[in-house]
Symmetry: C2
Subunit: 318 residues, 2 copies
Amino acid sequence: MRTTAGGTMIVNLDVTLRDGGYRNNFDFPLDYALHHAREAVAAGLDHVEIGHRNGSFTPMPGIGRTGAGPDDYIRAMADVVPPERLGMIVHPKNITEADLAAMYRSGVRLLRFCLPAGAPQAGLALLRTAVDLGFTTTVNITRVSRLAARQLVELAALAGDFGAHVVYLADSNGSLLPRETARLVTLVRSVTDAAIGLHAHNNLGLALANAIAAVEAGANWIDSSVLGMGKGPGNLVTEQWLAYLDRHESAGAHDLGRLLSLAHRMGTEIPEARPRLPLPDLVLGRFDLSVEDRAQLPVDRIGDAFRLARAMTAPATA
Amino acid sequence: MRTTAGGTMIVNLDVTLRDGGYRNNFDFPLDYALHHAREAVAAGLDHVEIGHRNGSFTPMPGIGRTGAGPDDYIRAMADVVPPERLGMIVHPKNITEADLAAMYRSGVRLLRFCLPAGAPQAGLALLRTAVDLGFTTTVNITRVSRLAARQLVELAALAGDFGAHVVYLADSNGSLLPRETARLVTLVRSVTDAAIGLHAHNNLGLALANAIAAVEAGANWIDSSVLGMGKGPGNLVTEQWLAYLDRHESAGAHDLGRLLSLAHRMGTEIPEARPRLPLPDLVLGRFDLSVEDRAQLPVDRIGDAFRLARAMTAPATA
């Protein structure tokens, strides 16, 4: 955590082991995962998201430990990282109240809820239970680029009503521009007293610009991944974000050198972490399509993929 | 060229064959170079910089055609691309008035001068000659992050006095933040009637954020490279920049699909074009060091490289 020139406390959250898991079926070697969490915290990240509990939204066969998130994995993590630094993310449909209690007991203290815009009630009830158990909680509103302002306001306000400490805007499609990001942050801030977070994807290369815009608009929880490892083209790149904070503000609150050493080891040991700029994902971002739409595009013929994506999203004419 | 919502005409310049040449000793196959220039223009880029004339600043043995820039190469380009789209860059110490005349005769119409801050006079005389010959001219002020405001103002004003049509800020070290970029654009705009350009490097992942900030501050010539191929971590990524313009404004002035097809072919045929996020170059950007300083860093031990870079740039204490 650090204070910006404007007085904002920025809380940085590492999502590598979770969002990066979409690239390797959540199958990080335990040794690497423990090393990663320990070094990320030592480098000054405030929280490490160690995985999903009971899988992602869509079931994935043979999902690895950072996708299943069992108790023994949490306990191993809590042995090397203080529990107040450990976070997990849940899809409410995948978990029960018993899971909440087990996660807390095993050593997690930050719990993030992915709430579907359509039917949030079951998730909100679990959120309240988590708050009562003592978790710090966030509600992650996914695919914000596709929500009507009215839906977004309603969901953010409900999240605050049920006790969420942070309301996250998740740019799942990686299609937001900086000024749109700032507008959404301003909108959500106006209807809740919860802190505001940003979870960025880098389809258009705008994750860093959007993080800067979000913080300038009043967000202060920022997700990032080492080497950007995350779904598709990845997330905000942690080392770029910390370098920005270091140059922008007085340096020294983070140990960027230590973070770079972690990034170097990760690039060596985890082949799927290699940085990339996939052109099909840029097309998705350009047209605000989701990663699920990728299967419809002829990704080997990128010009055709572009034209098809444009046709898929063209306004209907009478 | 296209008009932004604010009424600015943006002029986009492709520097792939030139700045990308630092990765492959300027040795692009002629077939590819011709294809690249033709497709970049067909996709809507306003100018293509086809290379240096008589080499880069530092002599490089065996430099390829986009570094040597001989007349027959220019003529081959002018056969496939209208001359008013063709640009070259020169270091004044490398060229004579005879070169200027030969380049014009062979088909180049945009000429860019790299001016050293210390001794610009010889370059300014050549600039005036180029203006008189009928070239559109730019003065590229390199390593702007290291110039005192007074030097920058002096050089920009002189460039305008000698007839430069565009004054470019070149963030050679890739260390500028968006608000610094905006400040420098505002500063230079206030002392010249020339148009203002930005040549960004992506050491900190801020090339796109800086281009956005520069245009918002009144710059309107923007350099970019396909796949970002350029020195070190590369330049502003053309496909990201055009996607941003497409999403930000009304779409259609560019053919992004065509540009993506070019990017795909480039990624297939030119191995050195592969996107990358080299950690040592991020360290250089963090500490505003130049690519020439890279040789001093133990790049295989990135934590040590970080600490050494910090020590190299620490303010002296009494």
